[in-house]
């Protein structure tokens, strides 16, 4: 049984591992954070959010200040998919952002069928109205 945890990660309840949903790479033990199995890159935020007004002339440019914030990019080491980003204060330890309770997850999914494709959720359609 595999549980789809994020757009790019699943937990294999049998092996208790995080797995990449893009390339099936085994990321690491689900008793630890998935980030421990990732490659990390410290991105200058100006590269993603380019200055719209001239940084030579102005103090504020629409770009984040690289001395105040960095973007930590987490890549699958096998396929290079960017699994998560984290806007972080320089030097702030990366967050253990998802810490599932594995026994509880197993018990919960023992009552459910495996879900192969993520459930996206209901669409809001124009013809939908309030009806009695």
């Amino acid at each position: 049984m595999k549980v789809l945890m994020t757009e790019y990660l699943r937990i294999n309840l049998d092996t208790e591992n995080w797995e990449c949903r893009v390339c099936d790479h085994v990321v690491g033990s689900a008793s630890k954070g998935y980030k421990e199995g990732m490659l990390v890159y410290d991105r200058d935020p100006r590269e993603i959010h380019p200055p719209i007004i001239d940084p030579k002339k102005y103090r504020f440019t629409f770009s984040p200040d690289p001395e105040w914030v960095r973007i930590l990019e987490y890549y699958c080491p096998n396929c290079g998919t960017m699994v998560e980003t984290e806007y972080a204060i320089p030097g702030h330890p990366p967050l253990l952002d998802m810490e599932p309770d594995l026994p509880a997850l197993k018990a919960q999914w023992a009552q459910r069928d495996e879900v192969a494709e993520a459930v996206v959720g209901p669409a809001v359609l124009p013809e939908q109205g309030h009806k009695h």
Partner: protein, 758 residues
């Protein structure tokens, strides 16, 4: 002098003595301040004896549903009245709620539209009235009474919001309450518009109305009304909207009376109670479907609105069984003299919005949807501030708190097969708009804001881009109004309005909805000014989701030393329709061009000077290399992103003239980028050895916990901190004093201050 004291062994007072002490304290209360017993509790009151009796008589699901729909229609009718007749811009654009409250004060049924944050906040003042005024012979609660309230320390978001509260009696017995709440704007604070960022204490924040009686026999008491009018900049607004709120309440009362006449009081009381209990039970059931897990996130505020600094909103969300616990410990300590603090009820109200607007929008609107969810904070923190702390800009902390909640909740929802909405990246969360005030072209004194705050860009969803300029996070069905209509009342024009700000992007597999540019200039008044009250000019105020990026930053740009109306008349070709062009090309001779963070205190503007800002983008979702190339080209065609930025970020290869996509080259470029990621990425264990630091960086004024150590809260530097459970004052210096000191140091270094006497 030697002090001596005789030790007296502590003795537990008897029941009789305890009762006597309690009576003495009750009879001799010096001041009925905000009651922590009321203010810290957001759960439903216990089922009362009369509710129990009513449920025993009427509990048929069909009857309950029929009456609930009827009361819901009444609330929506009251809401429409306020929206159509209200004078406040906030009323016209949906910054309103109307509702019916149980006799114990819980909000059972609220209007479907408008600002649902109120659904978790307006019950507090009613409970204060019940506890303190009901049996007070000098006040009392009688048929025909109405109470007013705005001080958020007694409930509500901030004191620009005013409520009108009416008790409803049947055969002499209190059966429920009705209330109407509106963001009125002006409240007599030190800056116009009701949300002063310059406030350094609650005494700078204008009217602070604890709940008091302002209506008797359904008539507004003229003496009190006059006092209130005399305390604000807009006496007409104060009167008009008190009347509007009163009449909206009376319309809801009429609908309740119709129900009482057809179905009886037990059916009404049972409907109100069972609606809340059923919603509460359903919320616990839905939570139990989520995975048991802990999710951590933090959102960064980059200013107090007075100065740039780093203020952490720390959030740990834990779900266990049917319990959901938001733990905000580790967030920044409260500022003693800055108004970005919030009372904890405000934070809870915004978290309620996460669920009512973005997770379970099908649930009946009311207090019950958030009632079973738990919230933990440190005392005297920026998300649970004390009585003495100013909070007129609490939006800064409740909105970033909201985003922390929205970001964390998405990570629970993804795996849950039962969904009521799509998984959603954080929506933009700052009120990027102009707050304005002064004397209008009609000679009226005004103070309020543009409804552009309602145009926040939406976060991307699991299979869709975010919507542009969609809705504020506090009211998903609010409007941004018609600027042209607004301009009939105020002496300024938005020369550029609703034009998307190119390259202010939040990339992803699905990109965030973008924000639009606003360029304003005063025209017909010499006594008019603006303020802006947002964070996020140095650090984005949101996070991305599942590999998507957050938005960028949004500064304030000013052009002074010109009259743009003369330019438009005489040299119209010089005017440009984007901040990018005006600031980079500097087309106006002799003008000064400057940029600032978005915490501009109220500033008088001269005719024709430009104030330029942009609404923000919601966050992106997923890896941007997975974005459909056709979507990238569509963004170029729609002016959302420039071709060079699109190509550099999304690795889409296309013909620069025709924009025809070269799919093969795109696939190759994306594969090359994935390889480049693997080459430049560092294994986590190795990365943290280099990256992790034991304390906040010395070059930043940092507030809040560092890493996981939530017991230690930094207060501006690595060597200044407090223990989380031991509050200390946290004063900020006047930014002008700081600047003067810097400049004097430079003068001293040059030897220019040698002769100055000390």
């Amino acid at each position: 002098m030697k002090q001596t004291a005789t030790q007296v062994k502590a003795r537990k007072p008897s029941a009789e003595e305890t009762a006597l002490i309690k009576k003495f304290l009750s009879d001799n209360t010096l001041f009925l301040g905000p009651d922590p017993e009321i203010m810290q509790n957001h759960d439903l009151m216990p089922r009362s004896a009369s509710e129990e009796e009513a449920i025993g008589k009427v509990s048929d699901a069909h009857t309950i549903a029929k009456i609930r729909d009827r009361i819901q229609s009444g609330c929506d009718e009251g809401y429409e009245m306020v929206e159509q007749m209200g004078a406040a811009p906030g009323a016209k654009w949906g910054d309103v709620i109307t509702g019916v409250y149980s006799a114990s004060g819980d909000l059972a049924i609220a209007s479907a539209g408008g600002v649902l944050i109120f659904s978790a906040l307006v019950h507090h003042p009613i409970k204060f009235i019940i506890k303190n005024w009901m049996n007070d012979p000098t006040v009392g609660v009688r048929e025909g009474d109405g109470f007013i309230h705005n001080d958020s320390r007694y409930g509500n978001v901030h004191n620009t919001d005013q409520s009108m509260i009416l008790p409803i009696f049947h055969d002499g017995k209190l059966v429920c309450w009705v209330a109407s709440t509106v963001h009125e704007g002006e409240n007599g604070a030190i800056e116009p518009g009701g949300m002063p960022s310059m406030a350094e204490s609650p005494c700078d924040e204008g009217l602070k109305m604890s709940p008091f009686k302002v209506v008797e026999n359904y008539e507004i008491k003229r003496d009190i009304l006059t006092f209130l009018q005399n305390s604000v900049r807009e006496p007409k607004l104060q009167y008009e909207d008190m009347k509007v709120k009163l009449f909206a309440c009376l319309r809801i009362k009429q609908r309740i009376e119709e129900t009482l006449n057809t179905d009886g009081p037990e059916a009404l009381v049972s409907t109100l109670r069972l609606t809340m209990e059923n919603v509460r039970a359903e919320v616990k059931r839905r939570v139990s479907e989520w995975p048991d897990m802990t999710v951590r996130t933090y959102i960064i505020q980059d200013s107090t609105l007075r100065e740039n600094c780093v203020v952490k909103i720390n959030c740990k969300l834990t779900k266990t069984g049917d319990r959901l616990i938001f733990d905000f410990r580790g967030s920044a300590p409260e500022f003693t003299n800055r108004p970005t603090n919030t009372i904890v009820a405000g934070l809870k109200g915004m978290l309620a919005q996460v669920f009512l607007c973005y997770v379970w929008p099908d649930l009946p609107r009311g207090q019950a949807a958030f009632a079973p969810i738990e919230v933990i904070t440190d005392p005297a923190s920026i998300v649970n501030c004390s009585y003495a702390a100013p909070n007129s800009q609490s939006l800064m902390s409740i909105f970033t708190g909201f985003t922390a909640g929205q970001h964390a909740v998405a990570k629970f929802l993804y795996s849950c097969p039962e969904k009521y909405t799509k998984v959603h990246a954080p929506t933009f969360n700052m009120i990027n708009t102009f707050i304005w005030g002064g004397v209008s072209q009609h000679g009226e004194t005004l103070g309020n804001l543009c409804a552009d705050l309602n145009g926040m860009g939406a976060g991307a969803r699991a299979d869709l881009d975010g919507e542009h300029g969609l809705a504020p996070i506090f009211a998903t069905m609010a409007d941004i109004g018609e600027q042209e209509l607004n301009e009939e009342d105020v002496p300024f024009l938005q020369l550029v309005s609703k034009k998307m700000t190119r390259d202010a992007i939040a990339p992803g597999k699905y990109r965030g909805g973008q924000g639009y540019t606003m360029i304003a200039a005063t025209k017909d008044s010499e006594q008019w000014g603006f303020m802006t009250t947002c964070q996020g000019a140095k650090i984005p105020p949101i996070q991305g989701l599942f590999g998507g990026y957050a938005c960028g930053c949004y500064p304030l740009s000013k052009v002074k030393g010109i009259d743009v109306y003369d330019i438009l008349l005489n040299e119209p070709e010089k005017f440009k329709h984007s901040i990018e062009e005006i600031m980079n090309e500097q087309p106006f001779d002799g003008a000064t061009y400057t940029t600032h963070h978005m915490g501009m205190g109220f500033e008088i503007s001269k005719r024709g000077e430009l104030f330029m800002i942009s609404q923000g983008a919601g966050a992106g979702y997923g890896d941007l290399l997975e974005r459909d190339p056709a979507g990238v080209i569509r963004d170029i065609e729609e002016g959302l992103i420039s071709p060079a930025v699109a190509e550099r970020l999304y690795k889409v290869q296309f013909d620069s003239q025709t924009l025809a996509i070269n799919h093969e080259a795109t696939a190759d470029a994306r594969e090359a980028e994935r390889k480049a990621r693997k080459a430049r990425g560092v294994p986590f264990a190795e990365f943290i050895k280099r990256w992790n630091k034991p304390a906040p960086p010395a070059h930043l004024q940092y507030f809040g916990c560092w890493g996981d150590d939530v017991g230690k809260l930094y207060m501006g530097s690595a060597d200044k901190f407090r223990l989380a459970d031991q509050p200390r004052p946290s004063y900020m210096r006047h930014p002008k004093d700081v600047r003067i000191e810097e400049l004097e140091a430079r003068l001293a270094a040059l030897g220019a201050l040698e002769d100055e006497k000390k």
